[in-house]
Symmetry: C2
């Protein structure tokens, strides 16, 4: 039986950008071309741009092997991202019809969406609509999130690089803080991303080693946060050392669910998924501690740096992101839809990973939290099991491609204007 | 005539730490040993620790060539730093007597202090007291400050690495900010160190290149800052693009001298030199812009990361820091006192530097600002001349020494307890 001629692939990026999301894009492109697809289109700003027929042919932008290498080293979503929430199918069939008409017009066989929980919700809805309408388009997700909170996968691309940046930076901030002795001591409070899951904040513990005492305490959002207990802990630590370094997740909240950042009156931007911008946690706590402990305090927010710092990426992460992108295309090529490739760890040391494929219906909107037993009893540090899990993910550096002293990224003149 | 036997060297680090200050320490040690000095002592926490007879013999800590290489890659003051202001000689002769007695007891021939303007004030006073009392100890400074505001030297060790970190990070934050399209746009405000001098903030302009449009505006502390003009500029830019990135110095202030950070009510720690902790500038402006422009805003502070990020150091800077440390010992060895080695640029491209030696009486407490003609007329960006000056200083990377995925620093077990 003659095999049907393969047509086109379209790929989009969604949600918060990472240092590895473009490596997955490179993996998608590379695999799609190898598997014989004609065009690989990139939707600009995800499904939101797709609905406005905004896309590019990636071949126009990835002309050489060097372009692909630069793409792997470029932070943030090369195609642009979005936080667009698809309505339920029954609530707006017209929108689905419009979207599928655009995909048919482009002769799409394979639709890849690189993203986290919310993006897998998009894949789920599109795959469901495809089944209902008998579409032959296959919809496959490719995992991505610095938060590492996707279920059914050992970890997510993007997490390892963010964890490596956090560990490196926490170690540098600790050294810096120690240098000056102050009569009343100093408390440095570092705020790390992670609304619900403490994987990134816990990674601050990687700073500890033979050459660094590490942070003094680490607070994850999985456990209720008590401001008074925090202040007491600072006071205790100040009796023993001159510079105390505390790491807190942006998502820490009190027993009744009030985010600490809300107490600090941040300007409170809310995105399309109803998530509030959490920022100002460290600042609020540093003001409380300055008042209660009478010492100098400093609030350090890693802000968007922790998700964008390609210059400090983990080679393990960048390579796995590429493989996940490629695996998503292979899965779709083999007929899967409504699925996402996952990573399965078979060994910590030596670190060994295989891939599998899982149903996005299970993954979408689920959240994988740090297990309670991976946090100490007091709730102020992660355990050795946590470190054994995270350490392999930050190994290796990506050889930089540097021009004029700073890392080079992939850019095509006029590209941003085009978008 | 028989040459007198060389005795000992003592070295201290002072003021804000940098990514290169330990490379100068390595240079001091290396040169002192090469020149045949017996012991090289390190004062712990600078002159403040010295007064309490807190010091180490560096030979106990720098045992191998690898230790010296690790020291060059270790951020923040290895010996600990201080912000101790020596009184005027006439105000407290007892203190000077005490200090010189300690130095005589240690059989010191050469006293090296690695620091910025305030530290050169210390060298000046000690050298003056030495002349008055006929001491044979030679007091020489070694330049260090991320702020690059020392007079009579082309630039200062520490600046290049901070500038490289800032350029790299601004570029990554710009990419990150661009990724999400928001209906009302977004303004990201990046706060960069520099109380009086805008060298670091201006270095954000290095992010611009063929692959990056760069920041949209850059505000240095040398020019008066107008909050209303800033908001107007944001509004104008938001009409043209979705994500606006503004870089501001922490030291920006209004025409009448009020720091913008003061308007934001930071907790206001004041150090021994009377300098107020300036922080919260970006936060304050982001709140104003959110209100006035009705868009999402994000305040990014590079905080202590910009002075501690050894993982992103400039090789040019680390090598020059080492040379300056070595040059300070050589100068003292040749009989200079009350002096500091400076760098003299003979060519931008190819970049060529020679060293000279200058009187600290001229350098101490003087400040080198960005010339007005290196800022555009509107006061919102640096010129090509500025970039020609800064670009050579961020070239080259330092090969990392990595253990378990993160950079290794020099540390001796028990060392911190010792201090």
């Amino acid at each position: 039986m003659a095999q049907e001629k393969k047509r086109n692939v379209i790929v989009g990026q969604s949600g918060g950008p990472t240092a590895a999301i473009n490596s997955s894009l490179a993996g998608v492109y590379h695999a799609a071309k190898n598997l014989g697809y004609q065009h690989v289109y990139g939707m600009l700003h995800g499904i939101q741009g797709m609905l406005e027929k905004r896309f590019i042919d990636l071949a126009d932008h990835l002309k050489t092997g060097l372009d692909l290498e630069l793409l792997k080293r470029t932070p943030s979503a090369y195609l642009g991202s979005c936080r667009y929430k698809l309505p339920e199918i029954n609530d707006d069939k017209d929108l689905y019809e419009k979207l599928f008409a655009i995909l048919d017009e482009l002769e799409i066989d394979v639709f890849i969406y690189i993203g986290g929980n919310d993006s897998m919700d998009t894949i789920k809805k599109l795959a469901d609509y495809g089944i209902i309408t008998g579409s032959k388009i296959r919809f496959v997700g490719s995992p991505k999130t610095i938060d590492n909170d996707l279920a059914y996968t050992d970890h997510t691309p993007g997490f390892g690089s963010a964890a490596k940046y956090i560990a490196t930076s926490v170690k540098e901030v600790i050294r810096d803080g120690w240098s000056l002795e102050l009569s009343k001591g100093q408390v440095v409070i570092i705020e790390i991303m992670g609304r619900d899951a403490g994987w990134l904040t816990g990674s601050a513990a990687l700073a500890k080693g033979e050459d660094c005492d590490g942070a003094d305490a680490i607070y994850l959002p999985e456990l209720p946060f008590d401001v008074n207990a925090f202040v007491t802990k600072c006071k205790e630590l100040l009796r023993k050392k001159n510079c105390v370094v505390m790491c807190v997740s942006e998502g820490i909240h009190t027993e009744d669910g009030t985010y600490i950042s809300e107490m600090g009156n941040s300007n409170g931007f809310i995105d399309a998924f109803g998530h509030k911008q959490l920022t100002g946690t460290a600042r609020y706590l540093s003001e409380i501690v300055a008042r209660e402990c009478g010492c100098k305090t400093r609030a350090v927010e890693f802000s968007t740096l922790q998700r964008a710092a390609s210059h400090c990426a983990s080679r393990t992460d960048i390579e796995e992101a590429f493989e996940c992108g490629a695996a998503s295309v292979k899965a779709a090529d083999e007929g899967d839809s409504g699925m996402m490739p996952v990573m399965v760890r078979t060994s910590d040391d030596p670190y060994k990973i295989t891939t599998d494929i899982k149903d996005v219906h299970k993954i979408a909107n689920a959240v994988k939290l740090v297990p309670r037993e991976w946090v100490n009893e007091e709730g102020t540090y992660v355990t050795e099991e946590f470190l054994r899990y995270v350490r392999p993910l930050i190994q290796g550096d990506v050889d930089p491609i540097t021009v004029d002293g700073i890392p080079r990224h992939l850019y095509v003149p006029g590209y941003h204007e085009l978008l």
